[in-house]
Structure formats: C-alpha cells, structure tokens
Symmetry: C2
Subunit: 359 residues, 2 copies
C-alpha cells in the first residue's frame, strides 16, 4: 500500500515525438507511473497511448484542460512547442501538479520567471527535460572537474551540438517555425551547449556574452545555426556551436589549468547501458621530456537510461514533497533560469549586430 | 655516388630545444644529412653537437655567418627567436641555401613577404616547421575531408592547442618575451590552431576575423592565452583557443554537412609510430530512429616520425631543384603567408578592442 502511494502518476500534454522517449522513461523509472496523455484530438491521443506502451488502465483525454482536471495526476510532462509553455506550464502549476518541462523552458527568461513563480506559489517541483544532467556519467565527470589536482581551475570550454536536418525538417519542423519555437537552433541544440558550459563552470554566470558572426537564418528569420563566446571576469572563456545544418556532433571539451575533459556524446550517449568520457592530466615536465600519455577513457555503466534517471529524480523530489511536506528543490529552476538568461543574451547579441552583452 | 650527391646537407642556426627534435629528424630522413650547427658561442655549439647525435664529421661554428659561408651546406634550419627571423632567413636565402624556418615565420606578414621574396629571388625552397602537416595521418584525414559523401561541405571547425607553462617557463621562456617572440601564445600555439583551421578549409581565407574577448597578457604585454573566431562568406565559422595556461590539449574538430572529423593529438601524436583520428557520418534518419553509431577510429601507422617526414619532403624539393633545375614549390610559402595573415588579423582585432577585422 505504501509502495503504491509512493509512485508518481504522470500525465503528458501533447503527442510530441520527444514525449515517446519520456513515456518510456516514466515506465522504466521505479517510482513513476505512466497514467494519462492528452491531445487536442482524442483519436490522436488514443493512438499515441497505444503505440507508446501506455498501460491499458491509462487515461486518454481530448483536451489539455481535461487532463489537468484529473486530480489523480501528480505530475505533468510538457513537451509542447515553446510558444505554448507559458500558458500551459502555469496552468499545470496552478493545478498543483509537478512540472517537467521540455527545453527551451520559455521564449525568454522573463516568461520563465512567471512559470517559476507559479510553481513556487503552488509548492510544486519544477525541472526541465535536459536528460544528460541525470546520467551517472555526469556525476563521474563532475568528480573530475571538482578535483583541484586533476582538473585545477577551469580555463576554457567548447561545446558543440549539431545535427543535420533534412529538407522536411528544415521546412516543417516546429523548431524552425517562428510562431512555435522562435529560438530555433539556439533554443533547441544551443540549450544543451549553454547548459553544458554552465555545468562545467559550476553555474557561475559569465559576465558577458558575444554572439559569433555568421549565424544562419531561414526565410522566417529563425536561427538554423549560431555560436557564441562567453567570458568570465577571471579569464575563463567558453565557446559553442549549435546547428541544424551540420553532421551530428555532441562534443564537450573542458580545459582546466591541470586537466582536460572530453566527451563525444554528451547529449545522447552512443550506448544506453554504458558510456564513457576521457580525461587527461599533463605536467610541464612531461611535455619537456615528450612522455605525454594519451587521455584515459572512463567507462560508466547505468542501469537506467539517462531520461529514466531524470524521471526517477524528479519523482523522488515530488514524493519527498508529498510525504514530508518539504519545499521543492530550487536547484532545478535556478539552473534552467541561468541557461535561459544566457540564451537570451546570445539572442540579444545577434540582434544588436554581435555586440557584447552583459549578463 | 649518385646516392651520396642526392642527400641534402643541413646546417642549424642556434641551439634551440626544438632544434634537437629536428636534428634527430634530419638524421632519420633518408635524403638528409646533419652537417653543421652554429651558435654565437663555439663551446655551446660543440656541446650541442655532442649531445644531439651529430656525426663526428660534422662542422661546428661559433657564429651564424660562418655557417652560412660554408658552401657545402645545402639547407639551413632556423629555430631562432621570431624577432631574428627576418635578418637570418633573408641571409640564408641570399647564400642560396634552402630555408626551413620555425613558426611563427615572422612577426608580421609584411616581414614574411621580405623573406619569401629573398627565397624567390635566390631560387631556394621555403618551408615552415609545422610538423603535423607531413604526417601520413594528415593525408588520410584530407581524404575524409575531401569526400563529398562522407564529410560534405565544411560548416565549423574548432581547434585547441594549449599547454601548461610552469613558473620558469612563464618567467623566462623566449615565447613570453616581447623582444624575442612578441606574438606569445598567439604566434606559438595559436599558429597551429590557425593552420589547422586553414587546412580544413583547403586554405580558403576567411573574410573576417574577430578575436574573442578575454585574452590574457603578461606584465610585458605578451599574450599568454587568446582565441578568435573566423568567418567565411558562405557561413563557415571557425574558432580556436591557444594558451600557455591550460592543460595540454591538441584537439581539432571539423564539422561538415555530412561528417565530423576529430583528432585529439593533432600537433604531436601521442605515439610516434602510429596515430589515429575518428570520423563519423550520420543521416537524419538515423537520428530519428536513434540508431546512431559511435565515430569510427582510423589508425595510421608511419615509418618515420612526422618531423622526419617533413625533413624528407623538404629535402626532396631541394633535390628536385638541384637535379632538374625546377622552381621551388610555392605551396609552402603560400600557406605560411596565409597563416601569418590570420595571426596578424587576430592581433589587430585584439589591439582594436575585439573589433572584427577584414582579411
């Protein structure tokens, strides 16, 4: 009985493709139940439930409102287009349901603050859908970055997330539509780049952000490819490239005064059950003698895919709130906000002709 | 007899540490002879010859002029501080000796043009000392980059060359002295970054160069760490980070529309006899199905270390000129000049407060 009550019942708003991955994750997470899905078309929702492994007992709704009115639902996953986040994320919070929101969390940090306030006012947990944050590999890499002997002080980070959109994607996908995901590649793949840089920097915000010249836009003015540099007062510098027009690349390289971290698949591991990163650590004396070791590879297994680790962590927080009356964990909205701030600054820098923007 | 005459006799100006590597390379290259070394101190030159495997028949000179007056010498390797390049490189050429010149080739492209003109006027071969260009791995990577199906069109490049100077290096090394190597980390490690970017771009010069904010200088105003972005008119964008203040990192990542190339040791391979790169190639359909393959590793063996491959190629050109009366190969001074142009532009952008500079 206690065990049943400690599972979080999830509803999903909309039938987005990314929702399939999270639906499976909810099924895999030991503390979470796939409970309901809503679409503006009941037929679409039914079909989605059937093809995505929803249990036969699950609910299917023909409108988002109906799902939110279901008082059995504890948490809602929102993979709607970004332009709909403000409206629906706030409604989820007002219905006292915990909110798992896809990235980018909003069209601007200003919008996002409204969402966060609604979550705070209603005592519900907020988390964005950045899967890789929850992979056990991420914790292992953190240990390396936090080691003052192995990594030292952060100097540079370069992050790349690009994939090759085909003609259909570049014409029809919501991520290239100004009325749906107006931030384009910056909000989509760029989100991961910015988050990874902030993660390496232990979420210390840069002082300034400068967009790189040469972003590429579609005919509607949506960003298809862009980059930026981020500067901190102590000399740390980071750069990133985000694009829908280049081969799949998910590289994160972090340079410290004493060590280097490199990962080739930081967004989505090449393998689900095991993934790796490389780390190196070289003294000046080794350079002089020429006896430099190749970076060492560190393999990290995981019993659950990273998106299921995410759902598990999110649900743990929701259960803690329910069972002990504790406050929601503020770390998650805080790092979402910082990520969105930097995205906003990159956008502002592009709009101002690549001027440097203070954060 | 024919074989003996087809070996190029090398003289080395100065006793620089890097000269030890090239002295060994001259010994290893089948068409080259280590013949003489000069220092402003004859004792230093003698000691250098003994400790660096010069044959007992080799000549030792107490001044650079004497070495240049030795009419048996065919080619001179110049690893002097950059501020001395203009004077001594021109003298080498005027003595009708082929010129292998350490990087950066000059303090500015203007200076370098004087050196190139001296080489042209005297019919001698010019080459700079960028070892990695001559590694068989570089040819293999070129094949991948030139493959329109595997790599497609170049989109982005990021190049990193950094190493951690210790206190003694940062205080006393010629590379941090304004009167010796005034370009500091930009001219030293930055040279490799810029060359690697131009190499990926098939030496198409960028239209504009913008230094990244946040370079680090020493008390004398010499650059210890810097970066820049390079932009081409067709949307290609490249970035680099060069530093004496971060852990050894030698990463080159090139993104095409269809493929990605990555190499972790592009400047100096971790192993001398065999080295590798990774290449990947992903379709949008693979992304949708989630069946993305990890990049494949390509191992390239080499019978000679890259610096000996360089000497061998340089000597082959010298021999061809001698035996067939052909003109010097213009490719090598041409790519040196382009590299220096970009360095000059980065420097100008830094000096102008990170303004974008046209090339």
């Amino acid at each position: 009985m206690a065990q049943v009550s400690s599972k979080v019942k999830f509803g999903i708003l909309g039938c987005a493709r990314i929702g399939r991955t999270v639906a499976r994750a909810i099924t895999l997470a030991p503390n979470s139940d796939l409970y309901a899905v809503a679409s503006r078309s009941i037929e679409k929702a039914k079909n989605y439930a059937v093809t995505n492994g929803f249990p036969s007992t699950s609910k299917v709704y023909g409108s988002y409102e109906e799902l939110l009115d279901d008082t059995d639902i504890d948490a809602v996953y929102v993979p709607l287009p970004t332009s709909l986040h403000l409206e629906w994320a706030v409604k989820v919070a007002e219905k006292k349901k915990h909110l798992l929101l896809e990235k980018p969390v909003a069209l601007s940090a200003e919008e996002f603050d409204v969402i966060v306030k609604a979550c705070e006012d209603n005592g519900v947990q907020f988390m964005d859908g950045t899967f890789w944050m929850h992979h056990p590999r991420t914790l292992k890499m953190r240990e390396f970055l936090d080691d003052s002997e192995k990594f030292g002080e952060m100097r540079h980070v370069h992050s790349i997330y690009t994939f090759p959109g085909n003609d259909t994607f570049l014409k029809n996908n919501i991520r290239v539509k100004p009325d749906l995901d107006a931030l384009g590649a910056l909000g989509d793949v760029g989100w991961y780049c910015v988050r990874s840089i902030l993660w390496v920097a232990n979420y210390e915000l840069p002082k300034t952000v400068t967009a790189l010249r040469g972003p590429i836009f579609n005919d509607s003015g949506v960003i298809l490819a862009c980059g930026a540099s981020l500067q901190w007062e102590d000399g740390k510098v980071a750069t990133f490239q985000a694009s829908f027009l280049a081969n799949l690349t998910m590289d994160l390289t972090a340079l410290g005064s004493k060590g280097t971290l490199n990962i080739r698949d930081f967004v989505i591991p090449f393998q689900e059950t095991s993934s790796s990163f490389t780390a190196s650590n070289t003294s000046f004396e080794e350079l002089v003698t020429g006896l430099v070791q190749a970076p060492s590879e560190h393999v990290v297994p995981t019993d659950l895919p990273q998106e299921a680790q995410m759902v598990k962590e999110f649900s743990s927080l929701a259960i803690r709130i329910k069972e002990s009356g504790s406050k929601p964990e503020t770390k998650w909205p805080s790092i979402s906000r910082k990520t969105q701030w930097v995205l906003d600054a990159v956008k502002a820098s592009i709009d101002k002709g690549f001027e440097t923007v203070e954060i």
